[in-house]
Amino acid sequence: MMETATEEKRRRDVSFGEMYTWHEGMEWNPVERVILERRSVRRYKEEQVPEKLVRRVLEAGRFAPSAGNSQPWKFIVIRDPGMLEEMEKYVRLRCRLLKFLLDWESSPLGRLSWFLSQVYIRLMPNELHPIPFGAIRLIADGKLRLFHGAPTVILVLMDRRGVSKPQVDVGICGQNMVLAAHSLGLGTCWVGFVELFKFGTKWKRKLGIKWPYRLMEGIALGYPVGEPDGMVARELHEIDWWEDGRKRAVF
């Protein structure tokens, strides 16, 4: 028999571990559950998120830890469907251009695009990793939407004058909001492709992004279709564990 989504959720809800204590093998406590069950949501209902709920999520970001309490972040909340669609269109056009220049499989430039891609991958190994490279193709072909149809988007900006490593602080702040949003029944997805807004003046001017601010990440926010949250398997990572004067590998 197949459980309905609500039944399954109720079953999950009764078995929480206690907060602020630990004994071996205990149930996941609510915070752990939110962390472990959070999945990136890529299909949203059209229903808008209440304003107060977004404000509450932003509060979680405001109280994130930061180096020297510098709080090097600024948020832009966009809830205008027309504007979001325009942004999506802009990114799709940029991706088409990138695909035209770099995708050696389909580009009419032939060998030249192969050469260009090899140069640009070496210049930007993170941005042009095979995974985002594939995403560029998907966005260009209209198979992947920038904000996945989310009704609310939070853009996270970084103040470049932050203490020590403001990039890390912005990441911590964003994850605070993402976890809070999931615990409140929302779905979220980190959108790194907002990077492309930096390669033109149109959106930077319209959104008022200028020095010392730098657009870092977008967070799509909305009610998920179905029940995408849940625990899944992930790769184990090798951990170097130093104790009693020697090192061992722990997984």
């Binding site: 890529r42 299909r43 095979p130 198979k143 899944v232 184990l236």
Partner: protein, 110 residues
């Protein structure tokens, strides 16, 4: 010495070369799959599709040389029947060689 050789570090893999890259992969249990299509809707790499009619309606993985699967397991999370899961993570080799990883395991409550 070193877990990423200089040669590997200098090699950018050809993304669409199956010899050089191990891309993500999902396995679908067609006994359990009822073809609801949720996985195909949410797949960030658009590498799942649903085909067939009636009882034969099942999810499949696209047969491109390099699917954009990143083994994120979002499909496993949304599947209410436990019919789909990632088989292994991706490893593009060369400069992008994946280091210090082992098999995929669900969260362990120590």
């Amino acid at each position: 010495m070193g877990y990423l050789t200089f040669r590997e570090r200098m090699t950018i893999p050809t993304y669409n070369d199956p010899e050089a890259c191990r891309v993500g992969k999902v396995v679908i249990d067609h006994e359990k799959c009822n073809g609801c299509g949720n996985c195909a809707l949410i797949c960030p790499g658009a590498c799942l599709y649903v085909a067939g009619i009636g009882k034969d309606r099942k999810a499949y993985m696209i047969e491109r040389m390099v699917p954009d699967c990143m083994s994120c397991n979002d499909c496993a999370a949304i599947c209410r029947r436990g019919a789909i899961k990632a088989a292994h993570g991706y490893d593009f080799g060369g400069f992008y060689k994946v280091l210090h990883r082992a098999e995929m395991v669900p969260p362990r409550n120590f």
